[in-house]
């Protein structure tokens, strides 16, 4: 998968080129406001780039599609639908038979540990529970690519830890590409195969850093000494303020 990007009138991005391989978990890390969310929106098809193209498996992206699922930081769930209805939404819109919808949705509800909450509305759930449902919703339609925009950033530390473990366990059993935007280095190290560090706006790739930790990942290992070098490198890359030609 390859994509090239031009710049918008706000100059959010400039001459950005990324390539992501199949079944790879890639994090996009960068300072606040550098445009990492914008990249995601462009790939998702919500915004059209002024110049450049996005292709998936060689096919260009012209708008949102079921091959790319999204998880946002908030507002993932439609407030007027129950947990089950939210998870099944994509299936319903693709005319999957009702029993099948229910089966898949309930299966996911169990996997995210929310059994008993099938008929609950989002405003009856905690933030962490909502994000769990949001993950399930995105995964339920089995898209090839998952785009996540700081999905755990507004959760408290403990909940976020549990969410990351949940995400890792779900993803490692699938063959999906995940593009994960975050500002949290530790999170990136825990989750990803590769971390792309971006510069300040207009964003360009500053450096791509591979994470060579073995899978399945665990918190202990990601916090341990093996990861120390890569952590230091990422930290220094992020803290250095430079205009950003590639190192």
């Amino acid at each position: 998968m390859v994509y090239d990007d031009g710049h918008r009138s706000v100059e959010a991005l400039r001459d950005l080129s990324l390539a992501v391989a199949r079944a790879e978990f890639v994090s996009l890390v960068g300072p606040s406001g550098c445009g990492k969310s914008t990249i995601l929106h462009v790939i998702a098809g919500f915004i059209a780039p002024q110049s450049g193209t996005v292709t998936i498996d060689g096919k260009p992206v012209t708008g949102p599609g079921t091959d790319r699922g999204v998880v946002f930081q908030r507002h993932n769930l439609l407030p007027w639908k129950t947990v089950r209805e939210n998870i099944a939404l994509g299936l319903k819109m693709q005319n999957v038979p009702f029993e099948e919808q229910t089966r898949i949705a309930d299966d996911w509800i169990a996997r995210i540990g929310l059994r008993g909450f099938e008929e609950s509305y989002p405003d009856e759930l905690s933030e962490g529970m909502r994000q769990r449902v949001g993950l399930a919703r995105a995964f339920a339609t089995d898209p090839a690519v998952l785009l996540m925009d700081e999905p755990f950033a507004s959760l408290d530390a403990l909940t976020a830890i549990r969410m990351r473990e949940l995400l890792v366990s779900i993803w490692e059993r699938s063959a999906k590409v995940v593009l994960f935007v975050t500002h949290d280095i530790d999170e990136a190290i825990l989750l990803s195969d590769r971390v792309i560090v971006l510069t300040d706006r207009p964003a360009r790739v500053r450096k791509e850093v591979g994470i060579d930790l073995a899978r399945p990942r665990s918190y202990e290992r990601s916090l341990g000494g093996d990861a120390e070098t890569v952590r230091r490198e990422l930290r220094s890359l992020l803290l250095a303020r430079s205009q950003g030609a590639e190192d």
Partner: protein, 264 residues
């Protein structure tokens, strides 16, 4: 908990306090008339009004007027809501519509309905159609405005989520736009309940043969202030009842509307 169902105790409380408030008003009314603060002919005591009411009820006049008014109101309210929502969808989703139709609607909505009656007469005559359309005029603006604002304020993440799940335009409307906006539309419709009644009263003063507004005007002209007040209070009470029914129906038909307030 936002939007929580009022507990039984709360509901009892609101009934008790509400009745007390109205009782105080009633006593104040009696007190003011007893003290002769205003001309008794212009502000009759509650007893006179009650007597007039029983007369009007016994002669069948009251029910007849109520029927006429409710008929006009019902048709106008329905039409006004349909038009309001339709126009709101149009102006919210089409830039051209917003700049043309939207601009005209925005300008027109500040016109007090009562001043438009003579104009309405010229174009529409003085029959039932004219009355229904005047009510429609009174109803459509709050509904249009709220529909438009609601649609314009749609949380874009909801739209994006639905789009990434493969929603067509129609599915977007069904699953995102309309439910999201429904709360706004309902708010607009509730406002329209009373503006509709104002319009009704204004139009029944010209060229009607029956109706609550007609009765108020007629009674005023022949100096039966007591009957006039009966008519006015009837109108207010009907508006109140319609509003309450409205809330009940919405709660039943749209059980999730309470949950549409989620912010986070």
């Amino acid at each position: 908990m936002r939007g929580a169902e009022p507990t039984a105790q709360r509901r009892r409380e609101s009934w008790v306090w509400g009745s007390a408030a109205f009782a105080v008003l009633g006593v104040a009314w009696w007190g003011i008339t007893a003290a002769g603060v205003f001309n008794e002919r212009l502000v009759p005591p509650p007893v006179d009004v009650l007597r007039a009411f029983t007369e009007m009820l016994a002669s069948g006049e009251w029910l007849h007027d109520l029927g006429s008014s409710l008929g006009r109101y019902g048709a106008g309210f329905a039409l006004g809501n349909v038009l309001g929502v339709g126009l709101g969808v149009m102006t919210a989703h089409s830039r051209i519509a917003r700049f043309t139709v939207g601009a005209i609607l925005n300008f027109a909505r500040s016109t007090p309905t009562i001043l438009l009656i003579p104009v309405a007469m010229v174009w529409l005559g003085i029959g039932e159609a004219e009355k229904i359309l005047v009510v429609t005029w009174g109803v459509l603006f709050p509904v249009w405005l709220n529909t438009h604002m609601g649609l314009a304020a749609v949380v874009k993440e909801y739209v994006w989520v639905a789009q990434s799940l493969g929603a067509t335009k129609a599915q977007l409307y069904r699953h995102v736009y309309l439910p999201h906006t429904l709360l706004h539309i309902v708010t607009g419709a509730r406002i329209a309940v009373s503006t509709g009644f104002f319009a009704l009263a204004a139009t029944e003063v010209v060229g009607a043969f029956s109706g609550i507004g007609f009765r108020a005007f007629f009674s005023y002209q022949i100096f039966r202030t007591d009957r006039m007040i009966v008519a006015i209070l009837t109108l207010t009470s009907v508006a109140f009842v319609v509003d309450r029914l409205f809330v009940l129906v919405v709660r039943r038909v749209v059980p999730w509307w309470r949950h549409a307030q989620l912010e986070g």
